[in-house]
């Protein structure tokens, strides 16, 4: 409980006033010489029970009345959750806002989303309780902090608005931890507003341990989780993949895989009218969704033969989350998926070339070239989508060219050379080869993201079947480990880069090194995923996830449809839209991980914050109950009740009066 006028609590010792008066009264007694002591003894014996209790109750009532008055004028605040605001207002309040797509799910009656509800409640709470607190906002889109002048601004700032991105909650917490450490925030309240999506929380990631350890060292830190984990029913999410143009005998057609997810499987089939907009022309497509998912692969839509490039969207009718009702796509003639393998080992290089040069999609053209480190000048940096580097890390000019290659959005995978050198690139350096007497297995890997993530149908890759006989040591800083071997060494990691992707794999294909080739699925999928990522940066039709662009990257883009025109220029990196620049078209959509309605369990949440001063508050979208409100009326009522009780207890006993009258009357009549 906190108080708006806390200095008035210094008057609390006045609660003892009735006791003090009682004691003073006792000491101010007068002495009477008394003859009828026998009656005093009897009366005292009789008064030991109820009368003493009554007197004690009177004292307690008086104390309660004073306490009620003091508490009432101190203007206490409390919430529906006991102890929510206990301990007084903090010096700093950090708000960590999950702005992911799933937070846009709203209550049908109030039409207020989870994000809006959380902001509204936090704003009211801070306005009422923490008037002198410094309010700092961390949002999941920018992952940076911003000082907020007034709690009411939380509702107005563009940084608290909706977005079509995913959220990185551990990343948010890391930023908050750095802020706390760097700014000496004193007593700090950290409010995390999130819907606990599994994909956003990455509960199995290694960052949580570090975050928890850092936060445990901070004194005066309280963590609050304002959770909106309840699932809004009847929500559908549409997505499209594999859009490509194909010429037919009649003209041309667009092929695409359409997927509609339903968050609750009611067992009943639902007819859903989809709208398909291609280059501004709208058509209808009725589907029947039974179960939790509808998939239509290779859905063909006829287009003009002359339309070699264009854009489109698929739209769902309005439901409880408008943010996942539209999916945008662009199309153009497919580029050739070019891979360059630079290898100092002929055998391994060939395996790598084969994996990259064999495409699974017949409509795509793939091409892979094997070069030795001496032939680096032959690399076509502009047309290559994926560079596989199995040689000593490049230096000087080649190193610069490679960085530019990555910065343009394409992909590099480094494999260990036969003779490692001390050269460092992207924070990583090869050390020495390690031979394993007992073949090592992969013991941990990231299933939700990266090259080893689960398949689109949710199936995990058969990583458990792989054996590793030899791997190369790797020193690394600021990396994201995607898979690690028994013993803790990394197998696959992603180095930090602003754009593009840089991967390091510490083992090679080949019987001497691993069973990558024997169980070729993992190896092939890994290479193809990297190739697909690199190819996405090439060509004239690019599909990007919101949140993956730099802040100002889309400033010069031209919107392709009316919906994209409404998006603020500054918000283009975080909002879905269709854009073009030069001859390249971009479709920005929400990350598909947001379509998964899986949330982390209560036990997981508890374990993530174990050891911290942590309070979880479960709320729901559209809820109107306040997190905290003034409760001085309750104390005023308490005071009135206490005063009434005191008056009742002090009323003269009717039997006492009549007893006295009888005694005196008897006395008079007898004499």
């Amino acid at each position: 409980m906190t108080f708006l006028q806390p200095f008035l609590l210094f008057a609390l010792p006045l609660i003892g006033l009735p006791v003090l008066i009682h004691l003073v009264n006792q000491n101010r007694h007068r002495t009477v010489h008394w003859g009828a002591t026998m009656f005093l003894v009897q009366a005292k014996r009789m008064a030991r029970g109820m009368a003493r209790l009554r007197y004690l109750l009177i004292l307690v009532s008086r104390m309660l009345a004073i306490a009620g008055l003091i508490f009432a004028i101190s203007r206490p605040m409390t919430g529906g959750w006991l102890g929510l605001t206990a301990g007084g207002a903090p010096e700093t309040t950090l708000v960590l806002l999950d702005r992911s797509v799933s937070m846009e799910a709203h209550d049908p009656s109030t039409r207020r989303s989870k994000r809006e509800t959380a902001l509204q409640k936090l704003s009211e709470l801070i306005q009422n309780t923490g008037r002198n607190t410094e309010l700092v906002l961390f949002d999941s889109v920018s992952l940076t902090h911003r000082t907020v002048r007034s709690p009411a601004d939380l509702l107005e700032l563009p940084q608290t608005g909706p977005s079509d991105t995913a959220a990185d909650i551990p990343g948010l917490l890391q930023q908050a931890t750095e802020y706390i450490d760097g700014n000496e925030t004193g007593r700090t309240d950290v409010w995390i507003c999130s819907d606990l999506r599994k994909s956003d929380w990455d509960a199995s990631g290694g960052r949580w341990e570090v975050i928890r350890r850092q936060l445990e060292q901070r004194e005066g830190l309280r963590m609050y989780l304002l959770s909106y984990s309840d699932e809004i029913e009847d929500n559908l999410a549409v997505s499209v993949s594999g859009v490509h143009r194909r010429e037919t005998s009649d003209g041309a057609e667009l092929l695409m895989d359409i997927r509609v997810n339903r968050n609750a499987d009611s067992g009943l089939a639902a007819n859903v009218p989809l709208s398909v907009v291609i280059d501004g022309a709208r058509s209808a497509l009725n589907i029947s969704v039974s179960g939790s998912e509808f998939v239509r692969n290779g859905h063909a839509i006829a287009i003009d033969r002359e339309s070699t490039s264009g854009w489109g969207r698929i739209e769902l009718p309005e439901d409880s989350n408008p943010a996942d009702n539209i999916y945008r796509f662009v199309y153009a003639e497919s580029p050739v998926q070019k891979t360059v393998v630079v290898s100092d080992t002929a055998g391994s290089g060939e395996y790598l070339r084969l994996a990259a040069g064999t495409t699974s999609d017949r409509s795509q053209l793939a091409e892979a070239k094997l070069l030795t480190p001496d032939q680096v000048e032959l690399i076509d940096w502009k047309q290559t989508a994926l560079l596989i580097w199995q040689a000593p890390l490049p230096e000087n000019q080649v190193s610069g060219q490679l960085r530019e290659f990555v910065e343009s959005g394409r992909c590099v995978i480094f494999f260990p050379p036969e003779i490692p050198t001390s050269k460092e690139l992207y924070g990583c350096r090869w050390t020495a080869w390690k031979s394993n007497d007992v073949p090592l297995k992969i013991n941990r890997w990231r299933t939700e993201t990266g090259l080893l993530s689960n398949t689109g149908s949710g199936m995990p890759l058969p990583l458990g079947e792989l054996n590793f006989y030899r791997h190369c040591g790797l020193e690394s800083v600021r990396v994201n480990v995607l898979g690690s071997l028994d013993g803790g060494d990394s197998l696959l990691l992603r180095a930090f880069s602003d754009r593009g992707a840089v991967y390091y794999c510490t083992s090679l294909p080949g019987t001497r090194n691993s069973t990558f080739i024997d169980n070729g699925v993992v190896f092939y999928v890994m290479i193809q995923r990297a190739l697909a990522r690199g190819t996405a940066a090439l060509g004239n039709a690019q599909h990007l996830d919101c949140g993956t662009l730099g802040e100002f990257e889309g400033n010069n883009w031209q919107p392709l449809d009316d919906l994209s025109e409404r998006v603020l220029v500054s918000a283009r990196s975080s909002r879905a839209g269709l854009y073009s620049i030069d001859h390249t078209r971009y479709a920005l959509n929400r990350p598909l991980s947001e379509d998964s309605s899986q949330i982390i369990t209560d036990e997981t949440v508890a374990s993530l914050f174990h050891g911290l001063d942590f309070t979880r508050l479960d709320d729901s979208a559209g809820s109107t109950s306040a997190l905290a409100s003034e409760v001085w009326r309750m104390f005023l009522v308490l005071m009135i009740v206490a005063l009434m009780a005191e008056s009742l207890l002090c009323l003269p006993d009717r039997r006492t009066g009549s007893g006295k009258t009888n005694a005196v009357a008897d006395f008079v009549s007898t004499r």
Binding site: N25, R28, G35, T37, F39, M46
Partner: protein, 297 residues
């Protein structure tokens, strides 16, 4: 005269003699009915003559009319033994409105009552004795009927002090045993003692055929218990002091007093004691006048 015998009261009450409620067994002739037949003017009965009777008591007129001898008998008049029992326990030092000043206490009131009564009784030729009831103090002056004895009693009465615990029951038992002939026992006390012991003492007195009268002295505050602030009550009879908040136990106190008064009333009713509950705020002359008038034959 002592200060507790006021001439105006004595002169006012001198016309009211103290009468016994039952026949007395005095040693000399007096104004009170005797247990035996005597030579007073009050005719009692006739009986047949038996040889040896005094022939002077033959009713000759009856012999003349009936030719039989009848002896004419008359009531005997005898004197009264008055035994005053004064309670001199500490509680008798409590006075009007709590005052302990001389002249205002219950003991002073008892002195006025007993002194005046002794004076009146001695004046009508009856014997007066005095006993004092205190745990640590015991005074016993047997009833006698001469003037010097009255002076002695009044002297002793003026010296009495209220202190210590009560010994009323023991004193009454002693009186019952030591006053061998019928007497009027007048008890002046606040009766702050155990009611069972009091009952037994009264029964003892009545068993010995004594006429018992009680002046029950009470101060109004002792009954009403009108206090509003914490008070340290110091017991006049020596018990440890008690710090009491009267507001928390006034009801219980009054209930205890009520119960006690009812018990006392029951005891005096069962033992046929002439009971007078007296407020010490009332003038003793009124109390005595009421007492004497009530005993008129």
């Amino acid at each position: 005269m002592r200060h507790f015998i006021e001439p105006n009261v004595v002169s006012r009450l001198s016309g009211l003699a103290l009468d016994a409620r039952m026949p007395m067994a005095g040693s000399v002739s007096g104004r009170h009915r005797s247990l035996t037949r005597g030579s007073s003017l009050e005719f009692s009965e006739y009986r047949n003559y038996v040889p040896g009777d005094d022939t002077r008591r033959l009713d000759w007129r009856a012999w003349g009319r009936s030719d039989r001898f009848y002896i004419k008998e008359f009531e005997a008049d005898t004197n009264l033994r008055l035994c005053l029992v004064m309670d001199v326990s500490g509680s008798m030092a409590y006075g009007s409105r709590g005052s302990q000043q001389e002249g205002a206490t219950k003991l002073d009131y008892a002195r006025f009552l007993c002194g005046t009564l002794a004076y009146l009784v001695a004046g009508q030729g009856d014997a007066v004795g005095l006993s004092c009831a205190g745990a640590d103090f015991r005074l016993e002056i047997p009833p006698r009927r001469n003037a010097a004895h009255l002076k002695h009693i009044l002297d002793e009465m003026s010296k009495l002090k209220a202190e210590g615990e009560t010994g009323l029951s023991e004193a009454l038992h002693a009186v019952a045993e030591k006053v061998s002939q019928r007497a009027l026992i007048v008890i002046v006390s606040d009766l702050f003692t155990d009611t069972d012991a009091l009952r037994k003492a009264f029964q003892h007195l009545r068993f010995r055929r004594h006429d018992v009268a009680v002046f029950h002295l009470l101060e109004q505050n002792e009954i009403e218990f009108e206090f509003d602030r914490p008070i340290r009550f110091v017991d006049l009879e020596g018990a440890p002091p008690m710090l009491v908040d009267p507001t928390t136990m006034a009801r219980q106190y009054r209930n205890a007093v009520q119960t006690w008064l009812e018990d006392v009333t029951q005891i005096v009713r069962n033992t046929a004691v002439d009971y007078h509950r007296v407020s010490i705020h009332e003038h003793y002359a009124e109390v005595l006048a009421r007492f004497l008038l009530a005993r008129k034959k």
